[in-house]
Amino acid sequence: MSAPMNLAVKLGPLHLKNPVLTASGTFGYGEEFEPFLDLNRLGGFVVKGLSCRPRPGNRSPRTWETPAGMLNSIGLENCGIDRFLEEKLPRLRKYRTAIIANLFGETIEEYCEVARKADAGEGLAALELNISCPNTARGGIDFGCDPEATREVVRAVRDVTSLPLMVKLTPNVTDIRPLAEAAQQGGADILSLVNTFFGMAIDIRSRRPRLSTRHGGLSGPAIKPMAIYLVDRVRAATDLPIVGIGGIRSGEDAVEFMIAGASAVQVGTGNFVDPLCSVHVLEEIETFLEKEGIQELRGLIGSLPR
């Protein structure tokens, strides 16, 4: 191998040493991966979604495998922002990599509360807002499905934090562009996409849903072509930096997202299949760049003709 390549990327105010992040809910609080990999290798990692108060999550069964994918209905089980800041974050601060807190709530107030607390916690590189959550004030329609609600919640959070703000878009919409625009208007610095697609599976013998919650979120390689499409659409609608997510399990998958317009990527379900997946993705990106004689990531990102 030749001299280590410079893979640093800037996503607006967020600087990463390389473009490989891990996706919320698939990397625990980071510590679970310490036996497998040096977390310093990663561009950063996004921790499990955090809420104001701890949540126990849904009853089992919570997951089911599907062709090239999986369904989950974990139910955003988490230890709560307070315990995260007290117990988890201090242990993670030693890493020289971007630690990103993924946050959610069911009302704008909850979003603001958890964001305010996260903002005060030392050692976070950015916040990622999961807006694929039912907005109890509007009859349970996900924040992320409604441009108005998206703009409002992003703006409210923007007001309480000076950390780089990444907004994670849901793919379950007719047209993602107004949502991307709304997030930008609300003050997002970065857009990450996509969250899971709605899906369902049935046990044909017992005639019951495979998940206790009836339906859940589809992730994994199956969704990659849809995620690439949505990155292409969002790129046409905003000039915010994009983080690509969906079915990435190899460097080639990551490069595909980057050519489509993503400045960085998140590895999700791939971490379950192989705990070293994120590092392999990084190494394979390097190999690809070398083989193709590409000197700089900039030459790759968004290189798909519009």
């Binding site: 809910g25 698939t26 990397f27 625990g28 679970e32 991966f33 036996p35 497998f36 499990k48 126990p56 999550g57 009853r59 089992s60 069964p61 919570r62 997951t63 089911w64 495998e65 062709p67 090239a68 994918g69 999986m70 989950n72 974990i74 089980e77 994994g220 390689p221 379900t269 971490n271 379950f272 299949v273 192989d274 705990p275 070293l276």
Partner: protein, 269 residues
Amino acid sequence: MLFETQVEVRANKILGAEIFLLTLHAPDIARAALPGQFVMLQASPSPEPLLRRPMSFCQIGPSGSPATGPETFRILYQVAGSGTRLMTRLVPGDTLSCLGPLGRGFPLLPGGHPRRVVLVAGGIGLAPFPFMAERLRGSGIAWTLLYGARSAGQIVGVDWFRQLGGDPVLVTEDGSVGEKGFVTAPLARMVEEDRDGIEVYACGPDPMLRAVARVCREGGVPCRLSLEAVMPCGFGVCLGCGVEANRPEGGYLRICTDGPVFAGEEIRF
């Protein structure tokens, strides 16, 4: 220690009705394995199925078949769906990625110093017990295996236990071999006869485990249950394998890292 490695298929033999014994060469994992622990094993060298399958250590090293060498471990598996069906196609020389050993297995030394450990296996729940019985024998702890299955065709590995000095008590639902009925019947008798002298380790389908837990609770006998769940990751990170904790504050335990073996009173299931 935990290893993420490529393992090599050394043998893949049919033992009974859709039940196979897979021998894998994997020195690191074989050396570190404990009874009741498991691996997450790629089911096929192809990219599908996406997720690995959780499989218990059945035998380690030369115990099962001396010809396969000391650096191997064996998996006893039953065809349950598409992934295990693909596993039947594995041939010597295939390599698979594998993560393990995972989870907390059965206690090597039972807690209350009982005179005898009763191993209760339901169907493919037999898988962890050849390894367990060998270790108990090595520690000089007496054991009995109660082994229930649907029918004679699903009964495998009886000789392994005979070689370890124990004659399994067989029970089949159709009475085709051994006692007719469920494995909880002989268990209830043993609990009745010798409630202070025994401790129970059980592995099998949920309804069996529930029945075992009830018999033990009612008889005041400690029991350890090895639970199953769909396991996307196996190392505690996806939170997909929760079982309700039996504690005032509620919440879930992860079967993969908090288990798969639990004391009967730890869980609500």
